[in-house]
C-alpha cells in the first residue's frame, strides 16, 4: 500500500512491537513511529538475547566451540556447524573423507527442509492461519526423528567434527530418508492447495514489502530474501564448497521482489533440497567417516581465514583469525538474518502494520542468530 498522504509529526505515536510480541518470533523489538495503522519510521532494537558467541569462540579451544554454533540458529543448526567445521578444516588443512562430506550434505539439506517447513508454518500463522503450522510440524517431525537417530539430538546438533563426523549413518536412516522424500512431495502439493493458491494468502503477500535488488546489495542481503528479489545468488552454486558441485540442482529465483516471491523461493528450495538428498543417497560412497591422520590438537597456522556457506537463511560466514594457538584469536560470525533484518527498517516505512509484520515473517527471522 502506498504511504499516507499527510503525516502530521505531532500526531504520531510510538508502538513497541516486542520484545514480547507474537509476530517477532522471539525477543526482537521494533520501535515503530505510527500514524494510525501506517508506519512512519521503524527502528529495530537488538540484543535481548545477545550471548557473545564470538568471545566464547576466542576463549574456548576449537573443538569446544562446536556446540555453540548450533545455538545460533535452532532451526537450521547443521548448516551453521557445517560452516564452522569447514572453516577450521580450511584453516588447519584437514582433509575430509568423501563419505563424510556426502553425509554432511544430506543432513544439511534435511535440516534446511526442516527449517523451511517450520518457517512455512510460522509464516502462515503470522498471517492468521493455524492449520498449516501443524501439518508442517508433522512433516518436520519426521526429519527430526531421522536426525535424532543419527546425531542424538533433535535441534541443537553437535554432529560434525573437524575432519568428519561424530558417527556414521545406518541403513535405517537411509531407508527413512528415502521414504520421506515422496512423503514430503505429496505434502508440498497439499500446501500448494491449502496455502499458495489461497486467494486471501495471495492478496496479503502480492506486492507487499518490495525489496529491490539494489537494496539487497546495499544491505548485503543473501539467501531466499535476495533470491526473491531476482538475484541469482546461492553460495552452494556461486562459491561451491563441500561436495555440492557433484549435485544437480537449481536455484529458484523470482523477480517480483515481494513477500510472495520470497515465499515461493523457499517452497521451491525444499524441492531442490529433496533432489540433493535423493542424489546424495544414491551416490553415497563407502569408506571411513574420519580422516586417517588428524592432528590431535587443532592449531591452525597463523593467518586469517574465511569460509562462507549457504544456510537456510542465507550466506553464513565465519572468519577465524588464528595466532597459531589452540584458541582462535578472533572468531567472527557473519549471520545472514542480521543483514536481512537490517532492511526491515527502511523497507517498512509507509507500510501498514499488518503488511509490515507479514513482510517481517517473509524474512524468516531467527532471533538468536541475529543477536548471536
Amino acid at each position: 500500500m502506498s504511504a499516507p498522504i499527510h503525516i502530521r509529526p505531532d500526531e504520531t505515536f510510538t508502538l513497541n512491537v516486542g520484545p514480547q510480541h507474537p509476530a517477532t518470533h522471539g525477543v526482537l523489538r521494533v520501535k515503530m513511529e505510527m500514524d494510525g495503522e501506517y508506519i512512519v519510521k521503524a527502528e529495530t532494537v537488538l540484543g535481548y538475547i545477545h550471548r557473545m558467541h564470538e568471545l566464547m569462540g576466542e576463549n574456548r579451544t576449537y573443538p569446544q566451540v562446536l556446540p555453540n554454533l548450533s545455538r545460533l540458529d535452532y532451526l537450521g543448526a547443521l548448516g551453521y556447524t557445517h560452516g564452522h567445521v569447514l572453516a577450521v578444516e580450511r584453516a588447519a588443512g584437514i582433509e575430509v573423507p568423501e563419505r563424510a562430506e556426502y553425509i554432511r550434505a544430506i543432513t544439511v539439506e534435511l535440516n534446511r527442509v526442516a527449517s523451511h517447513l517450520f518457517w512455512f508454518g510460522a509464516f502462515v500463522m503470522d498471517l492468521g492461519g493455524f492449520t498449516p503450522l501443524m501439518y508442517a510440524i508433522e512433516d518436520r517431525e519426521y526429519i527430526l526423528d531421522m536426525l535424532e537417530a543419527i546425531t542424538g539430538s533433535r535441534l541443537t546438533y553437535c554432529y560434525y567434527r573437524f575432519g568428519g563426523l561424530y558417527n556414521d549413518i545406518d541403513d535405517d536412516f537411509i531407508a527413512a530418508a528415502k521414504a520421506f522424500i515422496p512423503r514430503l512431495r505429496k505434502s508440498l502439493k497439499k500446501y500448494d492447495g491449502l496455502v499458495t493458491g489461497n486467494i486471501i494468502f495471495r492478496k496479503r503477500l502480492e506486492g507487499i514489502g518490495p525489496i529491490s535488488a539494489e537494496m539487497c546489495r546495499k544491505y548485503g542481503a543473501t539467501g531466499p530474501v535476495a533470491r526473491g528479489s531476482g538475484i541469482d545468488f546461492d553460495v552452494r552454486k556461486n562459491e561451491p564448497y563441500s561436495v555440492y558441485p557433484e549435485f544437480d540442482f537449481d536455484i529458484p529465483v523470482y523477480h517480483e521482489c515481494d513477500s510472495l516471491a520470497r515465499y515461493k523461493v523457499r517452497m521451491d528450495e525444499m524441492e531442490q533440497s529433496l533432489r540433493i538428498i535423493e542424489q546424495g543417497l544414491e551416490k553415497l560412497p563407502d569408506g571411513p567417516i574420519m580422516p586417517k591422520k588428524k592432528p590431535k590438537l587443532i592449531k591452525p597456522p597463523k593467518g586469517d581465514y574465511y569460509q562462507a556457506v549457504e544456510t537456510a537463511r542465507g550466506s553464513f560466514g565465519i572468519r577465524i583469525v588464528s595466532d597459531g594457538t589452540k584458541n582462535a584469536y578472533r572468531f567472527k560470525l557473519r549471520s545472514p538474518t542480521y543483514s536481512n533484518m537490517h532492511m526491515f527498517d527502511e523497507a517498512c516505512e509507509g507500510m501498514m502494520i499488518m503488511d509490515a509484520l507479514a513482510m517481517m515473517g517473509s524474512l524468516d527471522l531467527v532471533i538468536p542468530e541475529i543477536d548471536r
Binding site: 569446544q64 562446536l66 545455538r71 537417530a149 542424538g152 553437535c158 561424530y166 492447495g193 486467494i199
Partner: protein, 156 residues
C-alpha cells in the same frame, strides 16, 4: 468486468480447494502422542545426561584421568580422585603400585549443553549417555548430579 467476476470466481474456487483439504484431513487419524500417558522410545543414540559405566566388579571404569573435564566446553564436570596403593604380581613378585580411584564425579547438568565431547574424549569407555529425558524440577540443585551416587543406586 469479466476480470472482476473471474477473479471473484477463482477466489472462491481457491477457498473451496483449501476447505476440501482440511475436510479430508479431518478424517485422518491423529498423529500426536498423548505424552504423559504414552511415551515413545528414545533412539539408540539419544543423548541424555552422562552416566558412569561400571565394570564386572561393580566399580566404575573411570580412571580419573580428567580428559572429559578438559574437553567439556562449559566446565560442568568436576571429579576428584585419591591414590590407592595396591599389590600386583609381576613376574612372580608382589609389587605395590599406585592407582587413582575415583572419589567424586559431579555433573552440573544446568550448564551442560549435551554436546557429547566428554563421551567422545573418554578413552576408557567409562561414561555413556543415559536415556533419561523426564527431568523436571523447580530447584537448580536437583540437577547437580553425583554420578557415583547414582551408580551405587543403580546397583542396589
Amino acid at each position: 468486468m469479466g476480470a472482476y467476476f473471474s477473479e471473484i470466481f477463482r477466489g472462491l474456487q481457491s477457498l473451496a480447494i483449501g476447505m476440501g483439504i482440511t475436510f479430508k484431513e479431518f478424517f485422518q487419524p491423529v498423529v500426536t502422542v498423548p505424552y504423559p500417558y504414552k511415551t515413545i522410545k528414545m533412539s539408540a543414540r539419544y543423548r541424555g545426561h552422562i552416566e558412569l559405566i561400571e565394570n564386572e566388579e561393580g566399580t566404575p571404569n573411570c580412571v580419573a584421568c580428567g580428559m572429559c573435564q578438559r574437553a567439556c566446553p562449559s566446565g560442568c564436570i568436576s571429579l576428584a580422585s585419591k591414590s590407592v596403593e595396591y599389590e600386583v604380581e609381576v613376574k612372580g613378585e608382589m609389587k605395590t603400585k599406585k592407582k587413582k580411584v575415583l572419589t567424586k564425579y559431579n555433573l552440573n547438568f544446568t550448564t551442560c549443553s549435551l554436546c557429547g565431547s566428554c563421551v567422545e574424549s573418554c578413552n576408557f569407555g567409562a561414561i555413556e549417555f543415559s536415556k533419561e529425558y523426564n527431568l523436571a524440577s523447580s530447584r537448580k540443585e536437583d540437577f547437580h548430579f553425583d554420578l557415583l551416587e547414582r551408580l551405587k543406586e543403580r546397583n542396589s
